[in-house]
Symmetry: C2
Subunit: 251 residues, 2 copies
């Protein structure tokens, strides 16, 4: 068996999957490992919605801007912050839950994300490939409708899982020193920034993005094309409304 | 070597650590593995603040309600959503960042949490023990002051790491069927709730909590003692103010 460190260090996101199925027994094993992740007060304030049905995947696809992993992966997992289950338990046991506020949403979101990442690492250690879809927090309202998600529950991320049928080049990461701070936050000088982003800017595919989009710098590809202010503002409003509608913004 | 599945399944939170140090080489290895976690658009919008200094740990302790892991663990890691670094790069490269909104905060928080959980799993696979401190989102404003965290950055979780000097009993988790939903969210009946919370309610330590706190049910220990509405409301307001102050609530 390959050393786990090598697997973690050599990982890459997998967007193309073979037709081999991921059976329920294996998927359940991964989720049981996921549920061993730390959880606030052992409340387990999360839920995982498993999508395998072809039609359901087709319905989900536009909510993830039609990224093809949704329809091509055998398994799609939607991880949700979930206080609905705990609230129902409280009401049944003569207790008055006070979990209709922003702190509780964050607690559930943290719980859900720790489970998600544990499932993903367990999957990769078993040889499976995964891809995170950041689009869940853009279209949470639509996912809520489609997956019949009740009040007290908000989807926070989505993962596609399958057996890899590609081995893409590993993308670069920033130098370790760019993301760590010792004892207190050491703010970045212009020279630091130039040094830390040099490798990213010099990659051939970065140059290509700049040229294809008629931009002057790689940073402009992020701000003007990939992650635009107008989109961020638009989806921020929707997401805050979702938190309100799902019962997480009471004062 | 023990199988990784066994390690993930057998894990427990470790709150007591031996005096053996965790050296920089090992810690860096763990963080490099953490940085291989998926990240939105490969932006790596997170930072990790490493606390080893005894005085700094003493200063941090009250912000985590004096949980003793902070001062007793050799290493404390504070994981932050961080758009400050990316924003600085954008300004340097004639790009106008649009990341001063709630969606961007959530993007950074998700990034930070996936790194945190990867570091934790890597640590546990190496034999280390970890403990998450959910208190970071309660006292983010104080942590921001102490660790000199600039605008564009918000701490989202804290982890203590060290070599275990205890092996506590493993706590129970809900049945798998309680946290998964197939194809769409299947809401819980009263019977479901009774079934899923039975094991938790019947644990001896649960009974003890109920008696010690003069409560009628275990759920009341959560709502009236451990996670009270008034605290949640109070810390929700503070956390939303932190997001505003750190520049993540522009419209």
């Amino acid at each position: 068996m390959t050393n786990f460190s090598d697997i973690l260090l050599d990982r890459r996101t997998i967007r193309k999957y073979s037709s081999e199925p991921v059976d329920d027994k294996l998927l359940n094993e991964l989720i049981v490992m996921g549920c061993r992740a730390s959880t606030t007060g052992n409340m387990q304030v999360y839920s995982i919605i498993i999508t395998r049905d072809e039609q359901k995947k087709k319905d989900l696809a536009p909510m993830h801007f039609n990224q093809k992993m949704i329809t091509e992966a055998p398994v799609v997992l939607t991880f949700c912050a979930d206080f609905n289950r705990l609230n129902k338990w409280c009401f049944l046991r003569k207790a008055e839950p006070g979990y209709d506020n922003f702190l509780s949403f964050m607690t559930g979101a943290i719980d859900a994300l720790l489970v998600a990442q544990t499932v993903c690492i367990a999957a990769e250690l078993k040889g499976l490939g995964i891809c995170y879809l950041g689009t869940t927090i853009y279209n949470a309202h639509k996912i809520i409708d489609l997956l019949k998600i009740p009040r007290g529950v908000v989807p926070v991320t989505t993962v596609t899982i399958g057996w890899p049928s590609e081995k893409p080049e590993q993308v670069e990461r920033l130098l370790l020193e760019a993301v760590i701070h010792k004892e207190s936050y050491r703010d970045y000088t212009g020279e630091d920034i130039k040094k830390y982003y040099k490798a990213k800017e010099e990659r051939q595919d970065s140059q290509q993005f700049v040229n294809e989009n008629n931009k002057e710098t790689l940073a402009q590809v992020f701000t003007d094309v990939r992650y635009k202010k107008e989109d961020n503002v638009y989806f921020s409003k929707i997401l805050l409304q979702v938190l309100k509608d799902q019962g997480f913004m009471e004062q």
